[in-house]
């Protein structure tokens, strides 16, 4: 049987924590801090727009690139909020979430053997999709720099002659983001070595302490940037699967070629709902952001008190906390916490090699849940902990 599966797919490493995920999914009444999506339901007016579009009979394909109305809304929104100019005609493509946009980006630019730099820890799909596209992922361990990529660290990897680099800020799983000043320094290296920057900025709207700077807004960077974003995290629309990619005409045309054959177009219902999100959803985004920010402060204080060391995240809704002090590795910690206290977290090993001492804690959960989870973790640490 094995012979019928392609060599490429056979070579893909299965996620080491799949079994742990199954364990969580098979358990009832778990308080989960292991979720990578908002705990809010999509605001009603956005859901209603989707329903209304169905009632009105919008059930057909749209153009491959996506509804013009949506591309225009995105174009205006980016211009208004960031001064970023992308033409709705040929510089924006609507994708099935950032996931598809990311896959298309790689497939559009990677030749067999091209090297792609991936700061680590990072989102789970970056490495495998790079390999699937024929590229070679080269991981940059950012642990010693507080999970931050620096120009100096990046420069050290230039002897590999990489073609592209993946940026993700605010980052999943660390919550780390970059100020404009920090990005400028990284940009210098990227431009100097003529890399393409694939910038996954899906958590941009959830940046708490400073303004988010899209990589493409840095001077000279736009033509070398593939800008990925979407509606999932800001507007609590994960299940709608709608994102977008912006780039030069050439890149968008190349990506559209693949997209038209594999996807055809994103669900029209989701696109209609996304239009509404841009038009009327900002108030909800701001309200959700304030709520996340308050939870972040609450959790940061409490995690430190419990001795789960972590840096304070700039954005997203995750803490990447060290469990080293407990004497347990990440997977054992997560497994025992689940079995003994019914609290789920994600072992850091999911996000790259060398993170056996870390867990990802999501605060996309109600304050009551967070409190109860913290109570249980506290009992676990004082009574369970090391070997007990």
């Amino acid at each position: 049987m094995k012979n019928i599966i392609s060599k490429k797919v056979q070579d893909m490493q299965p996620s080491g924590i799949r079994a742990f995920f199954d364990l969580v999914l098979g358990m009832k009444e778990v308080i989960s801090l292991g979720v990578g999506e908002p705990d809010f339901v999509t605001p009603w007016q956005i859901r209603e727009a989707g329903i209304y579009s169905l009632e009105e009979g919008f059930t057909s394909y749209t153009s491959n690139k996506g509804l013009y109305k949506l591309r225009l809304s995105i174009s205006r929104d980016l211009k208004n909020r960031y001064g970023l100019k992308y033409s709705p005609e040929d510089e924006i493509l609507i994708t099935v979430g950032v996931s598809e946009g990311f896959d298309l980006s790689l497939r559009a630019i990677i030749n067999p053997g091209d090297k792609v730099l991936i700061p680590s820890p990072g989102y789970v799909s970056y490495g495998p999709l790079t390999e699937l596209a024929g590229g070679i992922p080269i991981y940059i361990d950012t642990k010693s720099d507080g999970f931050k990529l620096t120009a100096k660290l990046l420069e050290k990897f230039m002897h590999h002659y990489p073609k592209a680099i993946i940026l993700n800020y605010p980052n999943n799983p660390t919550g780390v983001s970059y100020t404009k000043k920090e990005l400028e320094k990284i940009k210098q290296v990227i431009l100097k070595h003529k890399l393409i920057c694939i910038s996954d900025e899906i958590y941009a709207d959830l940046t708490y302490d400073f303004a988010h700077t899209p990589f493409a807004t840095l001077s000279g960077a736009k033509d070398r940037t593939i800008y990925l974003s979407g509606f999932s995290k800001s507007y609590a629309m994960t299940g709608w699967r709608v994102g977008f990619v912006c780039g030069t005409k050439e890149i968008i045309a190349a990506m559209t070629k693949i997209h038209q054959y594999t996807i055809m177009c994103v669900s029209i219902t989701s696109q209609m709902a996304a239009c509404e999100a841009i038009q009327t959803g900002r108030v909800c985004v701001e309200e959700m952001k304030r709520e996340y920010k308050r939870r972040r402060e609450f959790m940061f204080d409490n995690l430190n008190r419990l001795g789960l060391k972590c840096i304070k995240p700039d954005g997203a809704f995750y803490f990447f906390a060290s469990v080293k002090k407990t004497g347990l590795n990440a997977l054992d910690f997560a497994q025992r916490l689940l079995q003994e206290k019914k609290v789920a977290v994600v072992p850091g090993t999911a996000f790259g090699r060398g993170f056996d001492d870390y867990i990802r804690i999501s605060y996309a959960s109600s304050l009551d849940n967070l409190k109860e989870a913290l109570n249980r973790i506290e009992v676990f640490l004082t009574k369970g902990g090391k070997g007990g």
Binding site: V24, S32, G34, V35
Partner: protein
Amino acid sequence: MDEILEILEKDGRTPVEDIAKMLKKKPQKIKEAIKKYEKEGAILKYKAVINKELIRDANSEVRALIEVNIIPQKDVGFDKIAERLYSFAEVSSCYLVSGTYDLLLIIEGKDLRTVSRFVAEKLAPMENIRGTVTHFLLKKYKEDGIILKHKEENKRIAISY
């Protein structure tokens, strides 16, 4: 609006220590701010929001919206009459509104008769009142931003990247 108020409006029982942590301030500062709001009357009181549909002995409570048409008085306009009306214990809310009538009252009583009697004996005969229209409330779906439904089940999968 101050975030302290936003938090308390959602959950009036949030402990001061939690608010302090969430807003990165000293508990004492939060305590003082809340005291100030209470003193100024910005925070009037803390109460439980009860879904009376689920409470048997409260089910007999009857509520009605009453549109009231009035003749305004010299110098004091609608205020004086409004005051006479909202001072009745049966009146739980009282608003001056634009449109075809002037005051909107929400009346609460233990049964239909109590409410009817209030309208017939207290309200209607009052001087300066031109007319009233009474709407008895049949079912409550949402009140003050809270949807009156059983808690919704969790629809997210328990773990994801």
